[in-house]
Symmetry: C2
Subunit: 690 residues, 2 copies
């Protein structure tokens, strides 16, 4: 199967690169730092089914309908999953022992009927399946499935997969299309993609059927007893329609969890961003299984049409320059088209780390369905910006929200943990399986292929079909700092390999292939090098242009009126550490695209040895004429005017404000490096544009 979570081990990051360095940090430091947090907070012991004080905590109970321990299962599961990926990279006895112990605790937590959820076993046994909309029961199950898959891959045993398959069977009896079954689907999707991965790995038919049911049933307005399932479920609980979680804008906001309409009728991405990405990743995987011949799916074209519409709506109208998604904090998700303020004090910006990880997962699936560089471009954008900014260089501190501008209320900074701690282990999972995102490959001895999505220094070794030999492809580059990538193909025996190399959309000045090849075609953003070329040139290089700093801007309909700097795949920001004169989060700082050269400087963050290219440019600071002086007319006599001047508000800005601009040297750093060097937490990506 083609899942990165399975195939990543075929790729090694065998030389220095930014990705390798970050991955090593995560393998060596983050895994253990998070293990400590799991232990400190009680999560580590939750599957022991011991009652912990937090279960009775009033403060926590105020987080109705979802107190934090309700999704502790998933925190543990994600850590197990990430740890299993990373143990392969960096063995650690403590981590190994913890994974084994957790697996045994999970086994022990399973009830006789197969049920496996700590909250609804310890705290609220009667609440089972009473609120699948809000209470993360199926979401937890999904993460357990993913943990079990990673565990069985690493340990080559079925200690975890066995109870999980039992649980899936049990869920399949409770939920489904039958007259005595609940016509339910997860309020927080993710179970779909997990079930389909389980099917791909084990052939578990229950898993496939359940995932398909979740996807097709979702948003059915008359799913149960002629009602929307979530309305029916609410009625069963005896809840008023107006009793709703804080994340629901209105009493009937089923769009919060993408259940306002069947998926095929959805035309724009709505609601909670992580849920949306996980859901559509599951849908895409259903279509991938069809494409790979693992399970035919008749409605693939309809669903692919829906995914295309939703992807385009998201990228064209609801995504930030950094690859962040979700402008609305209340529902951690999407606002209306083109509503992309940079920070809280401008009305929004959430950009949860997990959401952009979800974009990466979705893009990866879509690339299997439609090899188009537009998906890989966004995948890379998210990886190097919205996601990588989510973990500190030391690997011990994280962000949850990734705004494009800080403000007094929301400084640019990191935390070592969160009550809702989905993001830290999610970063672990992604970097653990990162090799699987660089490329996809396969085919037989006569038509083997490698589609290269991401450049770095890495090597993949895979067995071609109909031929026992192992083909390896190696790439070497100083990406994302420089655009030259050396490729080396190895095959013991003759093999016909087609290589497809992504030409990023920002590579406006194109690329240079060496040795050159007149007949090279460009297909949907990929440079196709047919066997004729790869046979003649086992080693070759491509130089991607576009590593000069460039100005980028959000769509004019965003009303942002800003410019930002980018270089290669990296989006830049200004931070007070480099621009210590700044006192107001760069709110009044601007830049002009024609104000002279943007200068590059090689820099290193001292204690950490992290090298990067800083940018310097001349910008300006605006000073706004004080409102009050605008309120006053020119009277006939100076003295009168002075006497008449009265501080206080005038008309509501109803006078054309004067702005003065003063030149200022600005230093920019890559957005992913923000909040790594102390400072006051002032940061901004898009600066005023004149």
């Amino acid at each position: 199967m083609s899942h990165p979570q399975t195939l990543f081990a075929q790729t090694t990051f065998h030389g220095p690169s930014l990705l390798q360095r970050r991955r090593t940090t995560i393998a060596r430091t983050t895994v253990k730092a998070q293990l400590r947090k799991l232990k400190e907070t009680g999560r580590y012991r939750c599957f022991s089914l011991e009652r912990q004080p937090i279960y009775d905590d009033d403060d926590d109970a105020r987080r109705w309908p979802c107190p934090a321990p309700m999704y502790w299962d998933s925190d543990v599961a994600k850590w197990i999953e990430g740890a299993c990926y990373l143990l392969a990279e960096e063995y650690d006895a403590e981590v190994d022992a913890a994974v084994r112990e957790l697996a045994e605790m999970i086994r022990g937590a399973q009830q006789e009927d197969g049920y496996l959820n700590t909250w609804f076993t310890i705290v609220d046994p009667r609440g089972r399946w009473s609120n699948v909309r809000d209470q993360h029961e199926l979401y937890n199950a999904g993460h357990l499935i993913e943990a079990a898959l990673a565990h069985s891959n690493y340990y080559k045993n079925n200690r975890l997969i066995e109870p999980i398959e039992k649980y899936v069977k049990m869920i399949s009896t409770v939920i489904g299309p039958g007259p005595h079954q609940k016509h339910a689907y997860p309020g927080h999707p993710e179970t779909e993609l997990a079930l389909l991965r389980l099917y791909a790995a084990t052939g578990n038919q229950d898993a496939y059927a359940l995932a398909q049911y979740f996807i097709e049933e979702r948003g059915n307005p008359k799913g149960q007893d002629g009602m929307h399932y979530y309305d029916w479920e609410r009625k069963q609980r005896g809840d008023s329609p107006w009793k709703r979680p804080d994340s629901y804008q209105m009493h009937d906001s089923h769009w919060y969890n993408q259940a306002h309409a069947p998926i095929l009728e959805q035309t724009s991405v709505e609601g909670h961003a992580v849920r949306a990405m996980y859901l559509y990743t599951g849908v895409a995987d259903l279509l991938c299984l069809d494409k790979l011949g693992l399970k035919a799916y008749a409605r693939k074209n309809e669903y692919f049409g829906a995914l295309s519409r939703l992807w385009n709506n998201m990228v064209d109208k609801k995504m930030y320059l950094t690859g962040g998604i979700g402008s609305m904090w209340q529902w951690e998700g999407f606002g209306i088209d083109y509503f992309l303020p940079q920070g809280s004090d401008e009305g929004g910006c959430y950009n949860e780390t997990c959401a952009s990880i979800g974009v990466i997962m979705l893009a990866e699936r879509l690339l299997h369905l439609d090899l188009n560089s537009k998906y890989a471009d966004v995948m890379e954008l998210c990886l190097y910006n919205a996601v990588m900014t989510g973990v500190s260089l030391e690997g011990t501190a994280f962000t949850y929200v990734n705004q494009l501008a800080s403000s007094g209320a929301d400084r640019s900074r990191r935390e070592d943990w969160f009550d809702t701690s989905c993001c830290p282990p999610n970063v672990m999972r992604l970097f653990g399986s990162l090799g699987g995102y660089l490329w996809d490959y396969g085919g037989g001895g006569k038509d083997a292929y490698v589609n290269v999505h991401l450049y770095s220094t890495a090597k993949v070794a895979f067995q071609v079909e109909d031929d026992q030999q192992i083909v390896t492809l190696e790439q070497k580059s100083n990406w994302p700092w420089e655009g030259n990538v050396l490729f080396q193909l190895h095959a013991p025996r003759p093999v016909s390999v087609t290589l497809r190399l992504r030409i990023p959309s920002w590579a406006r000045r194109g690329y240079t292939l060496t040795p050159s090849y007149k007949a090279a075609r460009l297909e949907k953003g990929y440079l196709v090098l047919p066997p004729a070329y790869t046979e003649a040139n086992r080693a070759f290089s491509i130089q991607i242009e576009g590593f000069k700093p460039r100005f980028v801007s959000p769509h004019p309909y965003t009303n942002q009126g800003t410019l930002a700097l980018a270089r290669g795949p990296l989006i830049y920001c200004v931070e007070d550490v480099d621009n210590p004169w700044e006192e107001d989060h760069f709110r009044n700082v601007g830049i002009q695209s024609d104000a002279g050269e943007v200068v590059e400087h090689d820099e290193v963050i001292d204690q950490l040895g992290e090298g990067y290219v800083a940018l310097r440019a001349v910008g300006w600071v605006r000073s706004i004429t004080d409102d009050r002086s605008n309120c006053c007319y020119a009277s006939e006599e100076e003295e009168e005017e002075e006497a008449g001047l009265e501080p206080g508000s005038s008309l509501p800005h109803a006078v054309m404000t004067e702005e003065k601009k003063e030149k200022r040297d600005l230093t920019f750093i890559p957005y992913y490096l923000r909040a790594n060097r102390r400072g006051k937490g002032h940061m901004r990506v898009g600066l005023l544009r004149k």
Copy 2:
């Protein structure tokens, strides 16, 4: 007393003016059109206590917690109030008979214990006082008080004031500081200002005490049994904290009705805009009563400090160019500072007509406390723009929401009624009592004064204290089209009159007084003409400059990047009727302040004979380079590039978008005239600024 609702009759609009024409239309047409609507919808009969089908209507019941008939009492009361004001202007036997009949029905609806509310008598007798937060019980009472005051002024009898005073007495037993009383205050303020007007008119001590209690108790975090009253009340009802009306963003959003903190601790205007304005008007009136010597109030300075802070926050950071307030549709109220998008498709803009009427009411009260033109400037801005745009030229169609830009979902148009129909009768009330807003006046024979806030053609006649004579002041002007105002003062016997004339803040080139007066002082935006001048010049004129078109813009922090045209007190807009080439709500239309002269044209709306000054200027239309073409790099060979072009989304706007600008002639009309000439409903105030 100084209330415009009492004093308006001392002012006559005795010559042609825009205000007079609108007032006449409202008196002749609007009053009767709304009476028809009251009858058609069942409101007219609600005080008969007959059960009507809508009370059992499921659709209506979905409007929990406030189905429309729950505030029918207030709709009727506001109509009575407005009708009583306007009968004085334009007697009509049908209207007269209706008011009399309604008064008798209201008398008949009063319960033995004094209770007087139709919903809680007919539909839900057990629900009395169970949800003063949401269910408009006290709000309805307030409007009944105001109706009764208007009724007793016009009819000189106590048919309505009598039952209402009985009701106030009853409320005073239920609510108050006593150990067995409810420590409640209205979820929708307005009762406060009504009670204080009742006190001013009748000396009713219960009314004063109740209003003071409402104001001082509001937002007390431990008001009842150690809990916030609204939490206590909710708990009494057995409601979950998470059961909340759609207008509440979060489960504890007491800011929705300005109850998140005691008024003295409130530093920014928050929540529902109409509620806020009515509340602060009540507070200001408490201080006015002190200032006028009608009732001493010890905490006046503290409360005036709070009002000043709140006013400044509103005008500086939360008010639109038109005087509209409330950018958030969900709670019909205030967003964060500087969040002022022009329309729904940009993320907001509500600007309820009633809210700006509330601003006018608040400004009028504040002018008594602090004679500063900043209040009168905003009062005039609201009157001629945000409010006057709320009624059609024929007087039969209305707006509720007054956005600054239309969109596909929210075209610029009017309706003849609304389910929640507060705005139409509110316009009636305001225009009925309009004379009372033009000026305030008083004082004795030696120190009489008139402070002129608004210019028009009108005459006020009032009796000076300590002297039986009637002084009259007449003003004549073609305001808001021209700035020349002729004044004529009449007094049978010698009297010392000080006149203070507002110099609007937009009159940047000042004013010319004729005959001139070297010693004239300017105090807080008012030109002070002492008795020495007014005795020597019983007739004089002032020419206010500022009637050349000028560009105005919202504060830079709004991120709007727009310019609008204004002339005198009027804000202008573009409409598709004059610019029929427009197809997208002027979203891509811009203007430059240095692009040549703005030309004035006298125009008339044919069927209605409404004259106005149109503006013409050269603007531009932007065409945005299609996103898709931005996604593509320049490849080495043309053919390849073409083959490689793939429609679909690129990176998320992460390329600097190219814009082309094409010149275009634009015609502007005053915002208050929008949606009077059919058309497609495309309209915009602020155009792009380059």
